[in-house]
Amino acid sequence: MSVNGIEFGSGYEERQPVLLLLDTSASMGRPAEQPRIDELNRALTGWFDGVRAQERLRTRVEVCLLTFDSAVRVYDPGPGRLVPVEEATADRLFVPVDSMHPPTLRAEGLTRLTDAVETALDLARARYRTLQRQRVPVRRPFVWVLTDGAPSDAEGHPLDATALDGTAGRVRQGEMRGEWVFQVIGVRGADLPMLRVLAPKATSPLENLAFGRILDLLFQSTDDSSPDQNADLIHQQVNDRAAKLARMDRMERDLR
Protein backbone atom coordinates (compact mmCIF):
# COMPACT_ATOMS: atom_id res chain seq x y z
CA MET A 1 0.00 0.00 0.00
CA SER A 2 1.35 3.43 -0.74
CA VAL A 3 0.86 7.07 -0.16
CA ASN A 4 2.29 9.95 -2.09
CA GLY A 5 4.14 13.00 -1.00
CA ILE A 6 5.92 11.98 2.17
CA GLU A 7 9.53 12.31 1.17
CA PHE A 8 11.99 14.06 3.42
CA GLY A 9 15.49 14.87 2.37
CA SER A 10 16.16 11.83 0.29
CA GLY A 11 15.74 9.16 2.94
CA TYR A 12 12.83 7.10 4.16
CA GLU A 13 13.55 7.69 7.79
CA GLU A 14 11.19 8.52 10.58
CA ARG A 15 10.51 12.22 11.04
CA GLN A 16 11.57 13.83 14.29
CA PRO A 17 10.16 17.30 14.99
CA VAL A 18 12.17 19.42 17.43
CA LEU A 19 11.13 22.77 18.94
CA LEU A 20 14.03 24.80 20.19
CA LEU A 21 13.09 27.62 22.59
CA LEU A 22 15.85 30.14 23.13
CA ASP A 23 15.96 32.73 25.87
CA THR A 24 16.79 36.12 24.32
CA SER A 25 16.00 38.24 27.37
CA ALA A 26 18.28 41.08 28.47
CA SER A 27 20.28 38.84 30.80
CA MET A 28 21.56 36.94 27.76
CA GLY A 29 23.37 40.15 26.84
CA ARG A 30 25.62 39.76 29.89
CA PRO A 31 28.43 39.80 30.72
CA ALA A 32 29.02 42.95 28.69
CA GLU A 33 32.57 42.02 27.65
CA GLN A 34 31.50 38.55 26.50
CA PRO A 35 27.73 38.46 26.02
CA ARG A 36 26.20 34.99 26.12
CA ILE A 37 23.98 35.87 23.19
CA ASP A 38 27.08 36.22 20.99
CA GLU A 39 28.23 32.81 22.06
CA LEU A 40 24.76 31.41 21.37
CA ASN A 41 24.70 32.99 17.90
CA ARG A 42 28.08 31.52 17.04
CA ALA A 43 27.10 28.13 18.39
CA LEU A 44 23.81 28.06 16.46
CA THR A 45 25.44 28.97 13.17
CA GLY A 46 28.28 26.54 13.69
CA TRP A 47 26.04 23.73 14.83
CA PHE A 48 23.57 23.97 11.99
CA ASP A 49 26.46 24.22 9.51
CA GLY A 50 28.05 21.11 10.99
CA VAL A 51 24.87 19.04 11.03
CA ARG A 52 25.15 18.46 7.29
CA ALA A 53 27.83 15.88 8.06
CA GLN A 54 25.64 14.05 10.55
CA GLU A 55 23.72 11.68 8.35
CA ARG A 56 21.42 10.26 11.02
CA LEU A 57 20.18 13.70 12.08
CA ARG A 58 20.12 15.18 8.60
CA THR A 59 17.66 12.66 7.27
CA ARG A 60 15.26 12.72 10.22
CA VAL A 61 15.11 15.94 12.17
CA GLU A 62 13.06 19.05 11.44
CA VAL A 63 13.42 22.10 13.63
CA CYS A 64 11.15 24.94 14.69
CA LEU A 65 13.04 27.77 16.37
CA LEU A 66 11.36 30.06 18.88
CA THR A 67 12.76 32.92 20.93
CA PHE A 68 11.33 34.55 24.00
CA ASP A 69 11.98 37.84 25.74
CA SER A 70 9.17 40.37 26.23
CA ALA A 71 7.54 38.69 23.24
CA VAL A 72 7.49 35.20 21.80
CA ARG A 73 8.71 34.94 18.22
CA VAL A 74 9.13 32.08 15.82
CA TYR A 75 11.55 31.73 12.94
CA ASP A 76 9.63 31.86 9.67
CA PRO A 77 11.84 30.49 6.89
CA GLY A 78 9.72 32.30 4.29
CA PRO A 79 10.96 35.81 5.05
CA GLY A 80 13.92 34.26 6.89
CA ARG A 81 13.42 36.08 10.17
CA LEU A 82 11.77 35.92 13.55
CA VAL A 83 8.13 36.98 13.51
CA PRO A 84 5.39 37.11 16.14
CA VAL A 85 3.75 33.70 16.19
CA GLU A 86 0.37 35.00 15.04
CA GLU A 87 1.97 36.44 11.87
CA ALA A 88 3.77 33.22 10.96
CA THR A 89 2.62 30.74 8.33
CA ALA A 90 1.95 27.71 10.49
CA ASP A 91 2.69 24.96 7.98
CA ARG A 92 6.23 26.02 7.13
CA LEU A 93 7.72 26.62 10.56
CA PHE A 94 9.46 23.24 10.72
CA VAL A 95 12.63 23.28 8.66
CA PRO A 96 14.79 20.24 7.77
CA VAL A 97 17.68 20.46 10.19
CA ASP A 98 20.29 20.91 7.45
CA SER A 99 18.43 23.79 5.80
CA MET A 100 18.04 25.80 8.99
CA HIS A 101 19.89 29.12 8.80
CA PRO A 102 19.39 30.55 12.26
CA PRO A 103 18.86 34.31 12.45
CA THR A 104 21.17 36.50 14.51
CA LEU A 105 19.60 36.84 17.94
CA ARG A 106 19.60 39.99 20.06
CA ALA A 107 19.21 40.09 23.81
CA GLU A 108 16.64 42.44 25.27
CA GLY A 109 13.53 42.50 27.41
CA LEU A 110 11.88 40.20 29.90
CA THR A 111 11.72 36.42 30.21
CA ARG A 112 8.22 35.39 29.10
CA LEU A 113 8.99 31.72 29.52
CA THR A 114 5.50 30.37 30.19
CA ASP A 115 4.02 32.09 27.12
CA ALA A 116 6.82 30.64 25.03
CA VAL A 117 6.28 27.14 26.40
CA GLU A 118 2.51 27.32 25.85
CA THR A 119 3.08 28.49 22.27
CA ALA A 120 5.60 25.74 21.62
CA LEU A 121 3.29 23.04 22.97
CA ASP A 122 0.51 24.24 20.67
CA LEU A 123 2.85 24.19 17.68
CA ALA A 124 4.22 20.78 18.64
CA ARG A 125 0.77 19.26 18.92
CA ALA A 126 -0.43 20.79 15.65
CA ARG A 127 2.66 19.60 13.77
CA TYR A 128 2.39 16.10 15.16
CA ARG A 129 -1.29 15.84 14.16
CA THR A 130 -0.60 17.21 10.68
CA LEU A 131 2.14 14.68 10.00
CA GLN A 132 0.10 11.78 11.40
CA ARG A 133 -2.77 12.83 9.12
CA GLN A 134 -0.36 12.87 6.17
CA ARG A 135 0.72 9.33 7.11
CA VAL A 136 4.28 10.44 7.76
CA PRO A 137 6.03 8.11 10.21
CA VAL A 138 6.53 10.80 12.82
CA ARG A 139 7.94 10.42 16.32
CA ARG A 140 6.66 12.53 19.18
CA PRO A 141 8.19 16.02 19.16
CA PHE A 142 10.99 17.11 21.45
CA VAL A 143 10.62 20.53 23.09
CA TRP A 144 13.84 22.03 24.45
CA VAL A 145 14.19 25.25 26.42
CA LEU A 146 17.54 26.99 26.85
CA THR A 147 17.38 29.73 29.45
CA ASP A 148 19.72 31.63 31.74
CA GLY A 149 17.13 33.56 33.66
CA ALA A 150 14.11 33.47 35.87
CA PRO A 151 10.67 33.48 34.25
CA SER A 152 8.77 36.77 34.52
CA ASP A 153 5.25 37.95 33.75
CA ALA A 154 4.28 40.63 31.23
CA GLU A 155 5.26 43.40 33.67
CA GLY A 156 8.60 41.89 34.46
CA HIS A 157 7.71 40.57 37.88
CA PRO A 158 9.32 37.22 38.61
CA LEU A 159 6.84 34.36 38.43
CA ASP A 160 6.34 32.32 41.56
CA ALA A 161 5.80 28.59 41.66
CA THR A 162 2.00 28.83 41.58
CA ALA A 163 2.09 30.99 38.45
CA LEU A 164 4.03 28.21 36.74
CA ASP A 165 1.65 25.48 37.87
CA GLY A 166 -0.73 25.64 34.92
CA THR A 167 1.99 25.38 32.30
CA ALA A 168 3.85 22.75 34.31
CA GLY A 169 0.69 20.65 34.49
CA ARG A 170 0.16 20.87 30.76
CA VAL A 171 3.76 19.89 30.05
CA ARG A 172 3.46 16.91 32.36
CA GLN A 173 0.09 15.73 31.04
CA GLY A 174 1.32 15.86 27.46
CA GLU A 175 4.42 13.87 28.39
CA MET A 176 2.30 11.20 30.04
CA ARG A 177 0.09 11.00 26.96
CA GLY A 178 3.17 10.60 24.78
CA GLU A 179 2.60 13.93 23.00
CA TRP A 180 6.10 15.34 23.52
CA VAL A 181 9.31 15.15 25.49
CA PHE A 182 10.07 18.40 27.29
CA GLN A 183 13.55 19.31 28.47
CA VAL A 184 14.88 22.46 30.13
CA ILE A 185 18.55 23.37 30.03
CA GLY A 186 19.51 25.99 32.58
CA VAL A 187 22.64 27.85 31.56
CA ARG A 188 24.70 30.21 33.69
CA GLY A 189 22.67 32.00 36.34
CA ALA A 190 19.40 30.22 35.64
CA ASP A 191 16.87 30.03 38.45
CA LEU A 192 17.01 26.25 38.65
CA PRO A 193 14.55 25.73 41.52
CA MET A 194 11.96 27.67 39.54
CA LEU A 195 12.72 25.81 36.32
CA ARG A 196 12.33 22.55 38.21
CA VAL A 197 8.75 23.53 39.01
CA LEU A 198 8.19 23.50 35.27
CA ALA A 199 10.11 20.30 34.59
CA PRO A 200 10.96 18.46 37.82
CA LYS A 201 12.93 15.64 36.24
CA ALA A 202 13.98 17.36 33.08
CA THR A 203 16.01 20.33 34.22
CA SER A 204 19.73 20.02 33.58
CA PRO A 205 22.13 22.60 34.88
CA LEU A 206 24.86 22.98 32.28
CA GLU A 207 26.42 26.16 33.55
CA ASN A 208 29.78 25.90 31.89
CA LEU A 209 29.11 23.85 28.84
CA ALA A 210 29.43 25.49 25.43
CA PHE A 211 26.10 25.92 23.63
CA GLY A 212 27.34 23.78 20.75
CA ARG A 213 27.92 20.84 23.06
CA ILE A 214 24.51 21.34 24.64
CA LEU A 215 22.94 21.14 21.18
CA ASP A 216 24.95 17.98 20.44
CA LEU A 217 23.70 16.45 23.67
CA LEU A 218 20.07 17.28 23.00
CA PHE A 219 20.03 16.18 19.38
CA GLN A 220 21.79 12.96 20.29
CA SER A 221 18.97 12.19 22.70
CA THR A 222 16.54 12.15 19.76
CA ASP A 223 18.61 9.42 18.17
CA ASP A 224 19.05 6.94 20.95
CA SER A 225 15.81 7.25 22.83
CA SER A 226 12.70 5.39 21.82
CA PRO A 227 9.24 6.95 21.48
CA ASP A 228 7.91 3.94 23.35
CA GLN A 229 9.91 4.97 26.38
CA ASN A 230 8.49 6.84 29.29
CA ALA A 231 9.60 10.49 29.02
CA ASP A 232 11.16 10.30 32.49
CA LEU A 233 13.54 7.61 31.28
CA ILE A 234 14.68 9.91 28.51
CA HIS A 235 15.14 12.72 31.02
CA GLN A 236 17.24 10.37 33.12
CA GLN A 237 19.39 9.48 30.10
CA VAL A 238 19.85 13.14 29.17
CA ASN A 239 20.77 14.03 32.75
CA ASP A 240 23.25 11.15 32.97
CA ARG A 241 24.84 12.08 29.71
CA ALA A 242 24.90 15.77 30.62
CA ALA A 243 26.76 14.87 33.81
CA LYS A 244 29.32 12.81 31.88
CA LEU A 245 29.72 15.49 29.27
CA ALA A 246 30.22 18.15 31.94
CA ARG A 247 32.79 15.96 33.64
CA MET A 248 34.83 15.42 30.47
CA ASP A 249 34.51 19.09 29.65
CA ARG A 250 35.82 20.04 33.07
CA MET A 251 38.77 17.69 32.72
CA GLU A 252 39.60 19.01 29.26
CA ARG A 253 39.54 22.57 30.53
CA ASP A 254 41.29 22.02 33.86
CA LEU A 255 44.22 20.39 32.15
CA ARG A 256 44.54 22.70 29.20
Binding site: G9, G11, R56, E252, L255
Partner: protein, 352 residues
Protein backbone atom coordinates in the same frame (compact mmCIF):
# COMPACT_ATOMS: atom_id res chain seq x y z
CA UNK B 1 45.39 20.86 18.41
CA UNK B 2 44.89 19.37 21.84
CA UNK B 3 42.16 19.17 24.43
CA UNK B 4 44.76 19.07 27.18
CA UNK B 5 43.99 15.51 28.20
CA UNK B 6 46.63 12.84 28.51
CA UNK B 7 46.02 9.16 29.03
CA UNK B 8 48.45 6.64 30.42
CA UNK B 9 48.63 2.87 30.04
CA UNK B 10 49.45 0.39 32.82
CA UNK B 11 53.02 0.21 31.60
CA UNK B 12 53.38 3.96 31.74
CA UNK B 13 53.06 4.83 28.05
CA UNK B 14 51.31 8.16 27.63
CA UNK B 15 49.27 9.58 24.77
CA UNK B 16 48.18 13.17 24.37
CA UNK B 17 44.57 13.40 23.21
CA UNK B 18 43.69 15.71 20.37
CA UNK B 19 40.10 16.65 19.54
CA UNK B 20 36.91 14.89 20.63
CA UNK B 21 35.68 13.09 17.54
CA UNK B 22 32.62 11.31 18.79
CA UNK B 23 30.38 10.59 21.71
CA UNK B 24 27.88 7.89 22.42
CA UNK B 25 25.62 7.07 25.30
CA UNK B 26 28.50 5.48 27.18
CA UNK B 27 31.71 7.17 26.22
CA UNK B 28 33.70 9.73 24.31
CA UNK B 29 36.19 9.09 21.53
CA UNK B 30 39.27 11.28 21.10
CA UNK B 31 41.97 11.54 18.52
CA UNK B 32 45.41 10.45 19.77
CA UNK B 33 48.72 12.15 19.07
CA UNK B 34 50.55 9.15 17.60
CA UNK B 35 52.20 8.26 14.31
CA UNK B 36 49.83 5.30 13.96
CA UNK B 37 46.11 5.79 13.26
CA UNK B 38 44.78 5.37 16.79
CA UNK B 39 41.97 6.83 18.85
CA UNK B 40 41.09 6.60 22.52
CA UNK B 41 37.69 5.90 24.03
CA UNK B 42 37.04 7.21 27.53
CA UNK B 43 34.07 6.02 29.57
CA UNK B 44 33.32 8.29 32.53
CA UNK B 45 31.34 6.76 35.40
CA UNK B 46 30.39 3.35 34.03
CA UNK B 47 27.76 1.61 36.19
CA UNK B 48 30.45 -0.60 37.77
CA UNK B 49 33.91 0.92 37.24
CA UNK B 50 35.79 -2.12 38.57
CA UNK B 51 33.88 -4.46 36.22
CA UNK B 52 34.47 -2.09 33.31
CA UNK B 53 38.23 -2.13 33.93
CA UNK B 54 38.19 -5.94 34.06
CA UNK B 55 36.12 -6.07 30.87
CA UNK B 56 38.61 -3.94 28.93
CA UNK B 57 41.59 -5.80 30.41
CA UNK B 58 40.10 -9.16 29.29
CA UNK B 59 39.48 -7.87 25.77
CA UNK B 60 43.04 -6.57 25.56
CA UNK B 61 44.32 -9.96 26.68
CA UNK B 62 42.02 -11.87 24.28
CA UNK B 63 43.58 -10.03 21.39
CA UNK B 64 46.45 -12.53 21.64
CA UNK B 65 44.24 -15.60 21.96
CA UNK B 66 43.72 -17.94 19.00
CA UNK B 67 39.98 -17.23 18.72
CA UNK B 68 40.55 -13.52 18.36
CA UNK B 69 43.67 -13.61 16.22
CA UNK B 70 41.55 -14.93 13.33
CA UNK B 71 39.01 -12.14 13.75
CA UNK B 72 41.78 -9.56 13.61
CA UNK B 73 43.53 -11.06 10.57
CA UNK B 74 43.62 -9.12 7.32
CA UNK B 75 44.21 -5.52 6.39
CA UNK B 76 42.56 -3.20 7.08
CA UNK B 77 41.59 -4.77 10.36
CA UNK B 78 37.80 -5.13 10.66
CA UNK B 79 37.45 -4.55 14.39
CA UNK B 80 38.31 -1.56 16.56
CA UNK B 81 39.66 -3.96 19.15
CA UNK B 82 40.99 -2.48 22.42
CA UNK B 83 44.79 -2.46 22.15
CA UNK B 84 45.64 -1.24 25.62
CA UNK B 85 43.78 -0.06 28.71
CA UNK B 86 44.38 3.56 29.62
CA UNK B 87 43.37 5.99 32.32
CA UNK B 88 43.44 9.76 32.31
CA UNK B 89 46.73 11.05 33.70
CA UNK B 90 47.24 13.93 36.15
CA UNK B 91 44.12 12.98 38.03
CA UNK B 92 43.55 11.57 41.47
CA UNK B 93 42.46 7.97 41.84
CA UNK B 94 38.84 8.92 42.40
CA UNK B 95 38.85 11.39 39.56
CA UNK B 96 40.34 9.43 36.69
CA UNK B 97 38.43 8.15 33.70
CA UNK B 98 39.08 4.70 32.26
CA UNK B 99 39.13 3.70 28.65
CA UNK B 100 41.27 2.17 25.97
CA UNK B 101 43.24 2.91 22.84
CA UNK B 102 42.04 1.30 19.59
CA UNK B 103 42.59 1.55 15.83
CA UNK B 104 41.10 4.65 14.20
CA UNK B 105 38.48 3.20 11.85
CA UNK B 106 38.32 6.47 9.92
CA UNK B 107 41.69 5.54 8.47
CA UNK B 108 40.31 2.75 6.26
CA UNK B 109 36.53 3.16 6.45
CA UNK B 110 33.64 5.61 6.29
CA UNK B 111 30.65 5.74 8.61
CA UNK B 112 28.25 2.96 7.63
CA UNK B 113 25.39 5.46 7.31
CA UNK B 114 27.10 6.83 4.19
CA UNK B 115 25.80 3.80 2.33
CA UNK B 116 22.21 4.26 3.48
CA UNK B 117 20.97 7.49 1.91
CA UNK B 118 21.02 8.81 -1.62
CA UNK B 119 22.66 12.10 -0.76
CA UNK B 120 25.39 10.53 1.35
CA UNK B 121 26.10 7.89 -1.28
CA UNK B 122 26.42 10.64 -3.88
CA UNK B 123 28.74 12.67 -1.71
CA UNK B 124 30.93 9.97 -0.16
CA UNK B 125 30.51 6.73 -2.12
CA UNK B 126 29.66 7.94 -5.64
CA UNK B 127 30.53 4.57 -7.21
CA UNK B 128 28.36 2.52 -4.88
CA UNK B 129 25.71 0.34 -6.51
CA UNK B 130 23.42 -2.44 -5.36
CA UNK B 131 26.41 -4.77 -5.80
CA UNK B 132 28.29 -2.71 -3.19
CA UNK B 133 25.30 -3.06 -0.86
CA UNK B 134 25.31 -6.85 -1.41
CA UNK B 135 29.03 -7.05 -0.71
CA UNK B 136 28.65 -4.96 2.46
CA UNK B 137 25.77 -7.18 3.60
CA UNK B 138 27.89 -10.27 2.95
CA UNK B 139 30.92 -8.81 4.78
CA UNK B 140 28.73 -7.92 7.75
CA UNK B 141 27.05 -11.34 7.88
CA UNK B 142 30.41 -13.11 7.63
CA UNK B 143 31.92 -10.98 10.38
CA UNK B 144 28.96 -11.56 12.68
CA UNK B 145 29.02 -15.30 11.92
CA UNK B 146 32.71 -15.42 12.87
CA UNK B 147 32.07 -13.48 16.09
CA UNK B 148 29.25 -15.81 17.07
CA UNK B 149 31.41 -18.85 16.33
CA UNK B 150 34.01 -17.50 18.75
CA UNK B 151 31.47 -16.89 21.51
CA UNK B 152 31.02 -13.14 21.17
CA UNK B 153 27.57 -11.48 21.13
CA UNK B 154 27.51 -7.92 19.81
CA UNK B 155 24.28 -6.98 21.62
CA UNK B 156 24.07 -3.42 20.32
CA UNK B 157 24.41 -4.05 16.60
CA UNK B 158 23.44 -0.85 14.76
CA UNK B 159 24.64 1.44 12.01
CA UNK B 160 26.41 3.83 14.40
CA UNK B 161 28.80 1.05 15.45
CA UNK B 162 29.60 0.04 11.89
CA UNK B 163 31.99 1.22 9.20
CA UNK B 164 32.10 0.64 5.48
CA UNK B 165 34.68 0.89 2.70
CA UNK B 166 34.22 1.83 -0.96
CA UNK B 167 34.31 -1.77 -2.07
CA UNK B 168 31.82 -2.92 0.56
CA UNK B 169 34.30 -3.91 3.28
CA UNK B 170 32.73 -3.64 6.73
CA UNK B 171 34.25 -2.78 10.10
CA UNK B 172 32.85 -2.72 13.61
CA UNK B 173 33.59 -0.59 16.67
CA UNK B 174 32.35 -0.45 20.27
CA UNK B 175 33.85 -3.85 21.05
CA UNK B 176 33.75 -2.97 24.76
CA UNK B 177 29.94 -3.18 24.74
CA UNK B 178 29.93 -6.80 23.53
CA UNK B 179 28.84 -9.74 25.64
CA UNK B 180 31.52 -12.36 26.20
CA UNK B 181 33.14 -14.57 28.79
CA UNK B 182 36.70 -15.30 29.78
CA UNK B 183 35.75 -18.75 31.02
CA UNK B 184 35.17 -17.62 34.61
CA UNK B 185 33.30 -14.35 34.40
CA UNK B 186 30.52 -13.37 32.01
CA UNK B 187 30.62 -9.77 30.81
CA UNK B 188 27.00 -9.09 29.88
CA UNK B 189 25.81 -6.82 27.08
CA UNK B 190 23.24 -4.30 28.25
CA UNK B 191 22.80 -1.69 25.53
CA UNK B 192 20.02 -1.77 22.97
CA UNK B 193 18.95 0.61 20.26
CA UNK B 194 15.48 1.48 18.95
CA UNK B 195 14.85 -0.10 15.57
CA UNK B 196 17.49 -2.81 16.05
CA UNK B 197 16.05 -4.62 19.06
CA UNK B 198 14.59 -8.09 18.54
CA UNK B 199 10.90 -8.40 19.48
CA UNK B 200 11.62 -10.84 22.31
CA UNK B 201 13.88 -8.23 23.93
CA UNK B 202 11.46 -5.33 23.47
CA UNK B 203 9.06 -6.53 26.13
CA UNK B 204 11.80 -7.83 28.39
CA UNK B 205 13.19 -5.96 31.38
CA UNK B 206 16.03 -3.54 30.78
CA UNK B 207 19.24 -5.44 31.26
CA UNK B 208 17.95 -8.71 29.76
CA UNK B 209 21.07 -10.05 28.07
CA UNK B 210 21.23 -10.28 24.29
CA UNK B 211 22.04 -13.54 22.50
CA UNK B 212 23.09 -14.61 19.01
CA UNK B 213 19.42 -14.73 17.93
CA UNK B 214 18.87 -11.08 18.89
CA UNK B 215 22.06 -10.22 16.97
CA UNK B 216 20.63 -12.13 13.99
CA UNK B 217 17.50 -9.95 14.11
CA UNK B 218 19.59 -6.76 14.02
CA UNK B 219 21.64 -8.25 11.18
CA UNK B 220 18.46 -8.86 9.15
CA UNK B 221 17.39 -5.24 9.74
CA UNK B 222 20.79 -4.00 8.56
CA UNK B 223 20.85 -6.27 5.50
CA UNK B 224 17.37 -5.01 4.60
CA UNK B 225 18.54 -1.42 4.95
CA UNK B 226 21.53 -2.16 2.73
CA UNK B 227 19.62 -3.98 -0.01
CA UNK B 228 16.67 -1.55 -0.06
CA UNK B 229 18.77 1.60 -0.25
CA UNK B 230 18.27 2.59 3.38
CA UNK B 231 14.68 1.52 3.95
CA UNK B 232 14.05 0.03 7.40
CA UNK B 233 12.07 -3.24 7.21
CA UNK B 234 9.53 -1.96 9.73
CA UNK B 235 9.16 1.47 8.12
CA UNK B 236 5.70 2.72 7.28
CA UNK B 237 2.59 4.22 8.78
CA UNK B 238 0.18 1.70 10.33
CA UNK B 239 -2.40 0.85 7.67
CA UNK B 240 -5.10 0.33 10.29
CA UNK B 241 -5.48 4.10 10.65
CA UNK B 242 -3.82 4.37 14.06
CA UNK B 243 -0.98 6.76 14.85
CA UNK B 244 2.59 5.90 13.97
CA UNK B 245 4.69 5.47 17.08
CA UNK B 246 8.07 3.94 16.26
CA UNK B 247 9.91 1.14 14.46
CA UNK B 248 9.81 -0.84 17.69
CA UNK B 249 6.04 -0.45 17.90
CA UNK B 250 5.76 -1.71 14.32
CA UNK B 251 8.03 -4.63 15.24
CA UNK B 252 5.81 -5.55 18.18
CA UNK B 253 2.68 -5.41 16.01
CA UNK B 254 4.21 -7.20 13.04
CA UNK B 255 3.84 -4.19 10.73
CA UNK B 256 6.36 -5.07 8.06
CA UNK B 257 6.02 -4.82 4.30
CA UNK B 258 7.94 -8.05 3.68
CA UNK B 259 5.74 -10.08 6.03
CA UNK B 260 2.39 -8.42 5.32
CA UNK B 261 2.16 -5.95 2.46
CA UNK B 262 -1.15 -4.55 3.68
CA UNK B 263 0.14 -3.75 7.19
CA UNK B 264 1.89 -0.45 6.40
CA UNK B 265 1.55 2.63 4.21
CA UNK B 266 4.74 3.62 2.42
CA UNK B 267 5.47 6.26 -0.20
CA UNK B 268 5.35 4.94 -3.76
CA UNK B 269 8.93 6.04 -4.26
CA UNK B 270 10.51 3.51 -1.89
CA UNK B 271 12.50 0.74 -3.58
CA UNK B 272 10.12 -2.04 -4.70
CA UNK B 273 10.11 -5.11 -2.45
CA UNK B 274 10.33 -7.44 -5.44
CA UNK B 275 13.86 -6.28 -6.21
CA UNK B 276 14.94 -9.00 -3.76
CA UNK B 277 15.98 -12.38 -5.12
CA UNK B 278 13.56 -15.09 -3.93
CA UNK B 279 16.04 -16.75 -1.58
CA UNK B 280 16.79 -13.48 0.26
CA UNK B 281 13.11 -12.51 0.39
CA UNK B 282 12.40 -15.83 2.08
CA UNK B 283 15.17 -15.24 4.64
CA UNK B 284 13.71 -11.80 5.43
CA UNK B 285 10.27 -13.32 5.98
CA UNK B 286 11.74 -15.85 8.38
CA UNK B 287 13.70 -13.12 10.17
CA UNK B 288 10.76 -10.76 10.67
CA UNK B 289 7.66 -12.98 10.94
CA UNK B 290 8.18 -13.86 14.64
CA UNK B 291 7.55 -17.50 13.81
CA UNK B 292 10.01 -20.32 13.56
CA UNK B 293 13.76 -20.01 13.71
CA UNK B 294 15.45 -16.83 12.57
CA UNK B 295 18.16 -17.20 9.89
CA UNK B 296 21.64 -17.15 11.42
CA UNK B 297 24.49 -14.95 10.29
CA UNK B 298 26.05 -17.95 8.57
CA UNK B 299 22.84 -18.64 6.61
CA UNK B 300 22.74 -15.00 5.56
CA UNK B 301 26.36 -15.13 4.47
CA UNK B 302 25.75 -18.22 2.32
CA UNK B 303 22.67 -16.74 0.66
CA UNK B 304 24.31 -13.36 0.06
CA UNK B 305 27.45 -14.95 -1.37
CA UNK B 306 25.26 -16.89 -3.80
CA UNK B 307 23.79 -13.66 -5.13
CA UNK B 308 27.27 -12.33 -5.87
CA UNK B 309 28.31 -15.32 -8.00
CA UNK B 310 29.04 -14.65 -11.66
CA UNK B 311 25.90 -14.30 -13.73
CA UNK B 312 23.66 -13.40 -10.79
CA UNK B 313 23.81 -9.63 -11.31
CA UNK B 314 22.60 -7.63 -14.24
CA UNK B 315 23.22 -4.05 -15.35
CA UNK B 316 20.58 -1.73 -16.73
CA UNK B 317 20.77 -0.17 -20.18
CA UNK B 318 19.51 3.20 -18.97
CA UNK B 319 21.82 3.88 -16.04
CA UNK B 320 25.12 2.09 -15.38
CA UNK B 321 24.64 2.47 -11.65
CA UNK B 322 21.42 0.46 -11.78
CA UNK B 323 22.52 -3.06 -10.83
CA UNK B 324 19.98 -5.74 -9.93
CA UNK B 325 19.42 -9.48 -9.65
CA UNK B 326 18.96 -11.49 -12.85
CA UNK B 327 15.79 -12.93 -11.32
CA UNK B 328 14.02 -9.66 -12.06
CA UNK B 329 13.45 -9.27 -15.80
CA UNK B 330 13.45 -5.46 -15.74
CA UNK B 331 15.25 -2.85 -13.65
CA UNK B 332 13.74 -2.15 -10.20
CA UNK B 333 15.62 1.13 -9.90
CA UNK B 334 14.06 2.40 -13.15
CA UNK B 335 10.67 1.38 -11.75
CA UNK B 336 11.46 3.36 -8.62
CA UNK B 337 12.57 6.32 -10.73
CA UNK B 338 9.19 6.30 -12.44
CA UNK B 339 7.64 6.70 -9.02
CA UNK B 340 9.64 9.83 -8.39
CA UNK B 341 12.87 8.78 -6.68
CA UNK B 342 16.09 7.11 -7.83
CA UNK B 343 18.19 5.50 -5.11
CA UNK B 344 21.17 5.17 -7.48
CA UNK B 345 21.09 8.25 -9.72
CA UNK B 346 23.89 8.83 -12.22
CA UNK B 347 27.23 9.62 -10.64
CA UNK B 348 28.23 13.28 -10.74
CA UNK B 349 29.74 14.28 -14.10
CA UNK B 350 33.33 14.49 -12.89
CA UNK B 351 33.03 10.93 -11.58
CA UNK B 352 31.59 9.51 -14.76
Amino acid sequence: MSVGLTVVSGSGHTWRLTEQIGSGSEGFVYGVDDARPLVAKLVPDPPDPEAYRRRVARLVRQRREPRTVGLLAGTPVRLAWPLVSVRTADSTAADGVDGYVMPDMRHAFQPFNHLLSVSARRAFLPRATWATALRAALALARLLGELHAEGYVVGDLKTDNLWVGESGRVGMADVDSWQFTDGREVFPGRMRTPGYTAPERLGAAIGTPPDTASDDFALAVLVHQLLLAGLHPFAGHPADGGDYLSYDDNVLHGRCRIVDRASVLLPRSVPPADLLPRRLAELFRRAFAHTGRRPTAVEWAEALAAELRPGRLKGCAVNTRHIHTVERPWCPWCDQTEHGSDSYPDPPQEEA
